[in-house]
């Protein structure tokens, strides 16, 4: 039994096209999932720190439940368990417009939203209480204080752990293959099925993921430098791993 390495299978025939389609799909679910996760994360993270108890409890329940269940379970849940509960019109629309895509971004969004909220919460809590007190004493409401002072500062503080979570989201997009999303890992399996070149296909996928992760990290580092507030010193970790 001999395995012949043949790197050209990656660009001859259909493989190249499949890889490209896979990358595009991965970036699509990454982008939409990220937007959902950031919105949920900022809201839930902030709500976990406000002085109003019912809101805190609501946000905490969301975070604790979604964070402690595997992403794979949320993918199955989003694809198999949720659609039958929706109104028929929505179901029809979903199935005509790539239900698996929306199930995947739903799962990624709520799961990483819970994780982002922890990062956000830690960031907000690392801002001295005096900031909020000062803001309130100038006549701002709690909502305004958060919107204009606390959250903008927190967002800058959390860039390193947020970068980590963003990279995690990109890597977790690979789990979507289990519900039939034709993302990058799915396509490496596709190439492998049709050409039997497992090593080359997996290597190509691995290299592309590495490149994407490093790109995100360097973009975020640049963003951090551009939005930095002079004089605001970041002390070590502000988030969970």
């Amino acid at each position: 039994m001999t395995y012949h390495f043949d790197w050209s299978t990656l660009w001859t025939g259909q493989s190249g096209g499949w890889l490209l389609q896979g990358v595009i799909t991965t970036l699509q679910i990454f982008a939409v999932g990220l937007i959902i996760a950031i919105v949920l994360g900022i809201c839930a993270g902030a709500l976990r720190t406000v002085p109003i108890a019912p809101l805190r409890w609501l946000a905490s329940s969301y975070v604790e439940f979604f964070r402690n269940v595997p992403l794979l379970v949320w993918m199955f849940f989003g694809y198999f368990s949720v659609p039958p509960l929706l109104p028929q019109a929505m179901q029809d629309w979903l199935f005509d417009h790539g239900a698996e895509f929306w199930a995947a971004v739903f799962a990624l969004g709520v799961y990483h939203g819970a994780r982002f909220s922890e990062v956000m919460r830690a960031g907000i809590q690392s801002i001295p209480k005096t900031q909020l007190e000062a803001a309130l004493s100038t006549g701002l409401t709690v909502g305004q204080a958060y919107r204009l002072i606390i959250i903008p500062v927190a967002l800058r503080l959390i860039i390193p752990p947020a970068t980590n979570e963003t990279v995690n989201l990109l890597k977790n997009s690979s789990v979507a293959l289990t519900i039939g999303v034709a993302e990058l890992t799915f396509q490496t399996r596709q190439i492998e099925t049709y050409t039997a070149k497992a090593f080359e296909a997996l290597a190509a996928g691995t290299v592309i993921y590495l490149a994407l992760c490093l790109t995100i990290a360097s973009i975020m580092a640049r963003v951090e430098r551009r939005v930095a507030i002079p004089g605001l010193i970041v002390q070590g970790h502000t988030g969970t791993s």
């Binding site: 039994m1 395995y3 390495f5 790197w7 659609p83 698996e100 596709q190 497992a198 290597a203 290299v207």
Partner: protein, 285 residues
């Protein structure tokens, strides 16, 4: 970072000039480890599936346990243990070529293209591709499938043929049969294409069998065979002898009756011409 890139480049260069090869044949491998590893399905009734008692059973599994394993033990002169691993359409050939399993015994169609990557045993079942739809669906076969959402298993012959014959049908590929069937039962697709017998099996085992119909003429010819690594004639001989003995001794037909007979899990009568075909495969000793 640079170290990482250097490492990866080194790997690519190293592999460009090397081939990985093993002198060990499958029989030697089984002899040394004492275990015969078979790749089979968990969701393809009645060939290989998990029943209500959560036991892993099926027609293909029985053929291996009762037909091929004895032949193997006799050839190697020792008791060989059978180990089952789950295989699916996209994973079965890689599992074989990577030595993770020795034989694929499930619902794999023997095709010329696949023979470039693996060797096949004798044919042990004959069927063709059809569609599974909800009762009363407007889909009646491959002629009415254009523009509809159709589920299939990633890498299956059905997916390939459908892609070629009906390019404007919206093909949604799943990792395995249960996922595809679930999509169908939740109306996420209009039809599910697979080999007729598997669709009949799914229908029989579904919570509400009367909700489903198998439609369409066979739009492909699907002879099932067991797959093994290429250029391993000694092992292939043992597998074929096992199957031939099962057919000539009547074991095959007993198993067929158990799973596909009138009182079987999925009634699917054996046509006289198919029976003759199976019997003619048994060459004289």
């Amino acid at each position: 970072m640079k170290l990482l890139v250097a490492f990866l480049v080194a790997v690519v260069l190293a592999t460009e000039t090397t081939n990985l090869s093993f002198a060990e044949s499958t029989l030697e491998k089984i002899d040394k480890s004492g275990t015969f590893v078979v790749g089979t399905r968990t969701g393809s009734p009645p060939f290989a599936f998990v029943n209500k008692n959560n036991e892993w059973v099926g027609f293909s599994i029985n053929l291996v346990e009762q037909g091929i394993l004895p032949a193997l033990s006799k050839k190697l002169n020792k008791q060989i243990k059978l180990e089952k691993k789950e295989s699916t359409v996209p994973t079965r050939i890689p599992l074989l070529t990577s030595n993770a399993v020795d034989l694929i015994a499930e619902t794999m169609t023997d095709t010329q293209v696949r023979r470039e990557q693996v060797d096949f045993s004798l044919t042990f079942f004959i069927t063709g591709a059809q569609f599974l739809v909800r009762k009363g669906s407007p889909v009646k076969g491959i002629q009415s499938i254009a523009g509809k959402r159709v589920a299939a298993q990633q890498g299956s012959t059905n997916a390939k043929i459908l892609r070629e014959k009906v390019p404007n049908a919206k093909l949604v590929e799943f990792q395995d049969q249960p996922a595809a069937f679930q999509a169908l039962s939740q109306r996420q697709v209009d039809a599910y294409t697979n080999d007729g017998i598997q669709l009949a099996g799914l229908k029989a085992k579904a919570p509400k069998p009367d909700d489903w119909t198998v439609v369409g003429d066979f739009f492909s010819y699907d002879p099932y065979a067991m797959a093994m690594r290429k250029n391993d004639s000694d092992f292939r001989l043992v597998v074929n002898v096992g199957l031939m003995d099962a057919i000539s001794s009547g074991l095959y037909f007993d198993l067929y009756e158990k799973w596909f007979g009138a009182k079987g899990e999925v009634p699917y009568p054996l046509t006289p011409e198919n029976k003759r075909f199976l019997q003619l495969q048994v060459v004289p000793k």
